[in-house]
Symmetry: C2
Subunit: 369 residues, 2 copies
């Protein structure tokens, strides 16, 4: 592992709520100094899980304490099912008994589950306290830590309870990706590929060309992947913070993907895998509706496969997939809006797709992997 | 009861989050038309309690349905203890099973408990849906429905879990005050008197002069009371939405008041009564620290008594009161900031008061009512 302390910064431009995303390799030891510049109170609640806590908890606490902070560490068990109101209730308790006041920050050290949960606590504890994201998975570094979507799950649906609440800083040490399971890394790549499809054809081409370097975690290449992904997401979020319009293009593959996750009880596919399959569905639907040229679909499918991601959903029932999409929280007024690629590098929001086309699209992915 | 459909509107000026407060007598039958103008989706979840629901639920549903809305009515049992995460979890469930989507509004029909709880649901269900306040108590009409503070309680403290989330409209029918218990009406007057003390000497004088008309619920006088209170609160909220500075003056009497509520297990004093006693504490402290002239203290105590509100806290322990204030969520960095009147019509935020002065202040109110 190469050592480097140079830091690349992407700014999320949201007026008074703007914040920096710092990206670099082996930068965690400098975290405390960066937090100090935020002007938050002297106590910090670090929310993490046992896996990440064991790997990086000490390093983070040491860095914060060296910069003069007191830390309260709250561990939440690993797993999506702990992204719940029950976990939130326990964290409020830890915060309150730990004497966390309105000036003190909540810091998320972990992946998307930890970031979403800790962010929900930060958004709602005493009506909002400063929030810091230290994402340790690729998915969190390129997607969930940026843009201020925080949430917990409800027994009836994912992310049903949440808020738009921007962090004061995102601090991504890509060295943490070296301890990430390969499957989780690949899942994160689904969101990375998404950015290429919806907004940046050159980046898509870069991902095609550099696939070996990315998969071997070549440090400069991975920094470029994280930085470009954050830049694209930051631009879109800056245009539409609370998803009234354009931000919805970030949901490419997600309407289909949520159905694949829900119908397999969130056990067969990790989120990024479901999104990958969903992006293929969206691209296939875009071809069928005459929006996307066939060769672009082929490139999308090929790139998804190159990164070891699935293109088909196995033996799920097609009628159930369609039904499930109509229960997604993105359905408004009983209509499902779809995000479809128009070309590699640009996406459109389409108000509805006929059931006939949907069936046809899904048949092509059934019993495939 | 005089009938009048003329509506007075106070605007809360918060840029794109601005909203109107409509005030009038017997205006509930026109609610649906006003909601229609907001451009929200066709389904509305009405959150209320059995008492208010029995009195006004039908009138509200009829008006909404006549304007073309479908309503889902969710009743939460009466009482502060139901302003909890558990109630919130049940309401998320009702919303989800009722098919509430992101365009659909949550409407609070009730007092402060219902407004705070329903507002918290609106702020967090699907990361925020439109919110409408229909306050039916004086306290809610002059205070809690305006300004976007929403919250639920945590077993360890009131309003520990919440957000700043502005409603799209507040709709106050002062006829609902005719069915309010007199004790609750008087409690609401504590917040009204507060506005006079912190911001408007003429209003304070008006409240002195018009006390008989107010207490007899003279319709024009009560409308003026609600309107002026809302105007003052709206001005302060517009200057400082998230309580970074000046908004804190709205907490006059609240730091002391929370201690009186907490130490009596929230059973002896209703909130407004505790605030009334707390305002006397603050005014006494302001005299002791040389901030407020003695005659102003006398006028404050007299007006509070005129409206049937207490000036003393009985036999609570003084050391425990001081200790409790240091645990209040408004304590930042272990310091308690106090809001003290400088004159009738203006208040200041004071970083700290010595324990000696506090003891002296509190001794004067001990064993008094």
């Amino acid at each position: 592992m190469e050592k480097s302390k140079s830091i690349t910064t992407v700014k999320v431009d949201l007026g008074p709520k703007s914040y920096p995303i710092h990206i670099g390799a082996n930068i965690l030891p400098g975290l405390g100094d960066y937090v100090k510049r935020l002007g938050v109170g002297s106590r910090i609640m670090v929310v993490t899980n046992p896996t990440v806590g064991a790997l990086y908890g000490r390093q983070v606490s040491d860095s914060l304490e060296a910069a003069g902070f007191e830390t309260i560490v709250a561990e939440v068990p690993d797993g999506e099912k702990y992204k719940s109101l029950e976990s939130a209730a326990l964290l409020y308790d830890t915060a309150f008994t730990g004497g966390l006041d309105r000036s003190n920050a909540v810091l998320a050290l972990g992946g998307g589950v930890i970031g979403d949960l800790a962010g929900f606590i930060a958004a709602t504890y005493m009506r909002g306290v400063p929030f810091i994201q230290v994402p340790t998975t690729l998915l969190a570094q390129v997607d969930s830590s940026v843009g201020g979507k925080v949430a917990v799950n409800h027994p009836r649906g994912k992310n049903i309870i949440g808020a738009f609440y921007q962090p004061r800083m995102v601090f991504s040490d890509i060295n943490t990706l070296y301890t990430l399971e390969d499957r989780q890394f690949r899942a994160g790549m689904a969101e990375v590929i998404k950015y290429g499809i919806i907004r940046d054809r050159d980046f898509f081409t870069f991902l095609e060309r550099e696939a070996p370097a990315v998969r071997q975690l070549h440090i400069g290449t991975v920094i470029r992947v994280v930085e470009t992904s954050c830049r694209i997401k930051a631009e879109i979020v800056a245009e539409d913070e609370t998803e009234q319009g354009i931000r919805a293009i970030l949901n490419l593959g997600h309407t289909f993907g949520h159905a694949y996750e829900a119908l397999t009880g969130y056990s067969e596919f990790v989120h990024g895998e479901a999104v990958a399959i969903g992006m293929v569905s969206a691209a296939r639907a875009a071809v069928k509706t005459g929006l996307l040229p066939e060769p672009d679909l082929a490139r999308i499918e090929r790139l998804i496969a190159t990164y070891g991601l699935p293109c088909g959903f196995g033996n799920l029932d097609i009628a159930e997939i369609i039904e499930s999409m109509y229960h997604d929280k993105k359905a408004v007024g009983g209509k499902v809006r779809y995000v479809l690629p128009e070309t590699i590098g640009r996406a459109a929001i389409v108000p509805e797709i006929s059931h006939e086309i949907l069936k046809n699209v899904l048949q092509g992915q059934q019993n495939q992997v």
